[in-house]
Symmetry: C2
Subunit: 369 residues, 2 copies
Amino acid sequence: MQHDHTNLRVPGPTPVPEAVARAGAQPMVNHRGPEFAELMGEVLEQLKPFFGSRSEPLLLTGSGTGAQEAAVVNVLSPGDTVLSVTAGVFGDRFAAIAEAFGANVVRLQGEWGKAISAQEVGEAIENAGDVKAVLLTHNETSTGVTNDIAAIAAVIRRLVPDAVVLVDGVSSIGALPFELDEWDVDVAITGSQKAWMSPPGLAMVAVSERGWAAHRQATMPRFYWDFTKAQKNGEKRTTPFTPAVGVIRALQEALRLMHEETPEGVFARHRRIGAQLRDGLKALNFELFSDQVAASNTVTAVRIPPGMEASALIKNLRKRGIVVASGQDWLKGSVFRIGHMGFVRPEDIDGVLQGLEASVAARRLEAVV
Amino acid sequence: MQHDHTNLRVPGPTPVPEAVARAGAQPMVNHRGPEFAELMGEVLEQLKPFFGSRSEPLLLTGSGTGAQEAAVVNVLSPGDTVLSVTAGVFGDRFAAIAEAFGANVVRLQGEWGKAISAQEVGEAIENAGDVKAVLLTHNETSTGVTNDIAAIAAVIRRLVPDAVVLVDGVSSIGALPFELDEWDVDVAITGSQKAWMSPPGLAMVAVSERGWAAHRQATMPRFYWDFTKAQKNGEKRTTPFTPAVGVIRALQEALRLMHEETPEGVFARHRRIGAQLRDGLKALNFELFSDQVAASNTVTAVRIPPGMEASALIKNLRKRGIVVASGQDWLKGSVFRIGHMGFVRPEDIDGVLQGLEASVAARRLEAVV
């Protein structure tokens, strides 16, 4: 819980521990000086285990959508055939970005709330023809579904060995295990305001050797997001343009906390918390939106009970100091979403469950009166 | 001076007052909730007088270069003839972005360290043919020169009334008077880490009616920077993608301080401080890089005295707690730059001058020994 005792349970921006917030508020430093170089060096090193990659991550100033755009424009060319594997708002957004920049996007449209299987992806690739790239969502924040990237990437590699695999890990990396090198993924993106318990404003990207090779051929227009500029400056432990220094400072402290807990400890806590929340919701007779086998351990979408208004429930929870998110797109009004990534402990989830129980009871009472 | 007593005098990121840093470290809030809506409403309203515009500014998550890219891709189409008026690193960057996205860029290359006159711009327009847009730099951060945007914009309006005028005000707006409506400028950009005494990560943009009309016709590819998305969400006092909430919180506090001082008071302080620094430098026999009639009141480029190493001087100042910036591009090694925008007081400038005097004296002593 944050230092104002709000139980902020939206799937980003997530709560920032007081020590992390304080670290972000340290006096400003020159991003071309030695203090920043040391800071950046530590952050890059500490990020690597969470990306599951020996490669040096890139730091970009922007939000998760900016990182999606960066991934697309850095490895694709206009006219490239791109398979978009999507079953939610963020998968759709990834596809829309590729289309805006001139890719020929073929969609594998999965059912919202369900995982997309490696087999379905394989079939879609065989139907799509010359697939240059595949856009995947590791954890779909709009539905609370985690996809099996390892299995999907393996099928892609078998069918189209040279295709670049772009993974939106905005709401997964740092909370769920991710193995860029082992899974043979090419570009993975994440954002400071999700699993990293840091304020929004910073995107982190990891790129494989195949990703860098694709980058050198890619002709989509780019300047601000250019990976080459980020990488060349990164070697000198700076950034091509003024970075979000405060957010990087916050992230440094957050990463120290995460390494103190160990990556495995962080992942295990997210698994436990996810199960705790789902069990608690079921005990209160709430219906989960997503398929249980694919249930995300960072965000849960819950159906609004029959006869209840989404906005009334959200407002009622807010009165109790609990902030949850509404449904997105066509799910607006029929689901609400609970974020449980980053700075989250069992007692925060207890608080949400108690708040939900009380909100439902209050409603029943109103109905009786 | 910051709370760690460092005299951070680079032209961005600039020092952040302790109250502003503290405001930025408040507990996180949902960017789709009422607290954020109130915050954003206040910030937009308080920004307007500094843009000199009745239009509602847009908030984008990114650095100044991101805002340059946003300005270009939102109002131009590939193939458009664009006049780039440049005499420094940031003017060149603005042109490079327009080229990267397919504009036909014609350059008016001014001499570095000098202002570019309205007459030169008029002649360049007459030579360039069908100019759709003009890229201007209000304050060139690499040379410490302020251009007369009012006069230049007036000539552009007379010769090509429908051309859109894009102004990079990254290191001017908030410190130097700017009048988007009165000067008939179409897109003006700035960044939180300059005059606004806030951490980096947030760009602010103002757009004229003509700019919006051009936007509706513009076909350069865009998604993350799209003005329509920013504007539609802005009306609901939110942003299309997760914004840099902490930086916006910091900016709210900084704007309160700036309005307490009044915009005119802020501008007058920058004028006084600029003169104080230039007079002090001359008294120490330092030679200014820029033409005195065009000297910037936010950043000053100073020639490295003969026989002195730029890096040695910068290191010597750093030992005294004063952080200045090196020269950029071909000026690296021959100038250093002093930032004096945002959180800057006469005593900070006294400190810089004393540090310079001591550094030069130390060097003389070394030379004698």
